[in-house]
């Protein structure tokens, strides 16, 4: 069944968006909006929080309570919102640099707390908005503006880190399979606890151009060809490509609920 994006949930007067032609972020954002539609969550209770960078701009285009925070800090702001008002459904849109580099500490600790946030990381392997510098997820040997001789660091596996840190829902999908991406985001929205959905996205202008990934359509095909189902390899990483699927979906005490349980016990 195909879900339409409700125009009421888009700030149509803020379009066109600032993303480059061919950018994968629109595919991710539309998957988020379709998942929200399917979740039947009360739209007035949604707070859509983002950080800085290309993905960070997504909060400007969606018609909810929206908060465009500082670089790396969306999870900190989101934590305050959720703990202050547990009735709110807090969704975080972030990028690989925002979440895993400058915001790495908040990422680890939000996952450790298992606080009920749904985090969608637009992972395009690069700092797009600042013009193509390497990010924590940039693959080894790739070329970026700050790795002109090829990258010598191994990339960080965001999903693996989320699992290790204690996230209770973790999934990865590429923009080559937007319907599955939508399904994982929906699962994350309905999951009580820290949900991390790694949306592997394209950056045609800054990353793809320097690494010969071709035009937008070829780029999407590259992701499709590189995708390896988790069910096949039973591991979140593989040297042969991008492992996709639902990695973790477990229950563990959630931070905000535990906190207010404590309040019930000690309240005078």
């Amino acid at each position: 069944m195909y879900t339409e994006i409700s125009l009421d949930n888009l700030r149509v007067n803020k379009l066109p968006h600032i993303w480059c032609a061919g950018c994968g972020n629109g595919i991710v954002l539309s998957a988020i909006l379709r998942a929200i539609e399917r979740s039947k969550i009360d739209k007035e209770k949604i707070v859509f929080v983002s950080g800085i960078g290309c993905a960070g701009r997504s909060s400007g285009y969606v018609n909810f309570n929206t908060l465009h925070t500082l670089h790396g800090r969306p999870l900190a702001f989101a934590t305050g919102i959720k703990l202050a008002n547990p009735d709110l459904q807090v969704i975080v849109a972030t990028g690989d640099g925002d979440l895993a580099a400058i915001g790495g500490n908040h990422f680890i600790h939000a996952a450790k707390r298992n606080i009920d946030l749904t985090v969608i990381v637009f992972n395009n392997f690069v700092y797009g908005m600042t013009g193509g510098q390497f990010s924590p997820t940039t693959p080894e040997d790739s070329f970026t503006t700050t790795t002109p001789y090829g990258h010598i660091e191994e990339p960080m596996n965001i999903s693996y880190l989320a699992i290790s840190a204690g996230a209770t829902y973790v999934a990865r999908e590429t923009i080559g399979n937007p319907l599955m991406l939508e399904k994982y985001i929906l699962n994350g929205l309905l999951h009580k606890g820290f949900s991390l959905i790694e949306a592997v996205s394209s950056c045609v202008t800054e990353y793809g151009r320097r690494n010969n990934l071709g035009d937008p359509a070829e780029y999407v095909k590259f992701f499709k060809d590189k995708s390896i189902p988790f069910s096949k390899v039973k591991s979140v990483e593989s040297n042969d490509g991008i492992v996709v699927g639902e990695f973790v979906n477990i229950e563990r005490p959630e931070f905000v609920s535990s906190y207010y349980e404590l309040v019930k016990k000690v309240k005078k």
Binding site: T66, T69, R73, G80, N85, L88, K267
Partner: protein, 369 residues
């Protein structure tokens, strides 16, 4: 009214809760830690939220988020932690989110002397973050005043939609004094929008301080740290940018009559005016009494509102008087005094972990005669 023995940090915690604070996020750092500890005990008892975050950047972010969700929110820190909070303070200033940041100063720079007092964050409180923005910074000099002034901090923050920096120092934070706890304080509540939901402008420039809706009340508005227009959405239009920057200044500076708090002590007939604040003002009062016994006519001006300054009040007090500034740093507030009085100001400062004693102040004044 109840009489109680408590420390300055405890007084801030208890006062904050009475002022309506229901959210605290912080990261432990000496000498502010016991304030967080007190909040972790008190807040759950009244249904409020306490969270120990992973660092100061997280703490300031969390209280901004909590404030947008409708809670009066506070954090507490000291020197290095205050530095880490600066980007968040800038965000709250620019996007006009009410928060209270307590900075119990320790010796700096850097890790300095964690357990000793200083007044080294006076300029950081004003100019720690980048860009031109308004701020209100308040500084008590006793435990009793710590209790009373934290109400003012929350009230100013909510009324003017501005982060309020509540500066204290290790001595005021940790000294214990018997105080009377009064329940008669006025508590100001954030002004909520009355406009129809579709017409709500979170940065409506027709107001000096636009009403602020809470997230979840159906207004669907946008908050960003980017330069924004009345709707809250990013703009780089110089006219709209200027209008915003100008309003931010105006909403504070037009209300100096209410915002600028200070104390004077024996200034009427004084030939010499001492300017000092926080713990040093207590030494200054002792010194003034000693000097007056020796026939030297000395008075005290103690700013309680450290930022912004009332130029008129300070200039009038300094008129025809020799001015001395004593502070526990190597020259910060003295720059503001010099800027305003436009004449030679005698300065005595030190930042070695020791407080400035009444004897030091006395001998400094006597030497100048």
């Amino acid at each position: 009214m109840k009489e109680r023995l408590m420390s300055g940090n405890e007084a801030v915690a208890i006062g904050a809760i009475k002022a309506g604070c229901r959210f605290f996020a912080g990261y432990p750092i000496t000498p502010s830690t016991d304030l967080a500890e007190r909040m972790s005990k008190l807040l759950p008892e009244i249904g409020g939220a306490f969270i120990q975050m992973e660092d100061e950047l997280g703490s300031i972010g969390a209280i901004i988020g909590a404030s947008l969700a409708g809670s009066k929110a506070m954090t507490a820190t000291s020197g290095p932690g205050f530095s880490l909070m600066q980007e968040g303070i800038g965000f709250a200033s620019f996007s006009e989110i009410p928060i209270v940041v307590v900075d119990v100063q320790r010796v700096g720079p850097s890790t300095g002397i964690p357990t000793y007092p200083s007044q080294g964050d006076i300029m950081q409180a004003r100019w720690g973050t980048h860009g031109s923005h308004p701020i209100i910074a308040l500084y008590p000099s006793s435990v009793k005043e710590s209790y009373d002034l934290i109400f003012t901090a929350f009230n100013f923050s909510e009324k003017y939609r501005v982060p309020v920096i509540f500066i204290s120092d290790e001595v005021i934070g940790h000294m214990r004094e018997k105080i009377t706890v009064e329940d008669s304080h006025i508590v100001f509540e954030r002004k909520k929008p009355e406009a129809p939901k579709e017409d709500y402008l979170p940065f409506d420039s027709r107001y000096e301080v636009p009403p602020l809706a809470n997230f979840g009340e159906g207004y669907r508005f946008h908050i960003t740290g980017l330069t924004h227009d009345d709707t809250g959405f990013p703009t780089s239009d110089p006219v709209k940018t200027e209008r915003l920057m100008e309003r931010l200044q105006r909403k504070i500076l037009n209300h100096l009559d209410e915002i600028f708090l200070y104390e004077t002590f024996l200034v009427e007939d004084a030939d010499i005016l001492i300017v000092s604040y926080g713990v040093v003002a207590r030494s200054a009062k002792e010194a003034i009494l000693e000097l007056r016994e020796k026939g030297v006519k000395v008075g005290l001006f103690r700013p309680i509102t450290i930022w912004p300054s009332s130029e008129k009040i300070i200039a009038d007090l300094a008129l025809n008087r020799k001015v001395f500034v004593f502070e526990m740093n190597l020259g910060q507030y003295v720059l503001e005094v010099e800027r305003i009085v436009k004449k030679k100001v005698e300065f005595y400062g030190k930042e070695n972990g020791e407080i400035i004693s009444p004897e030091e102040i006395e001998s400094c004044i006597l030497k100048s005669l």
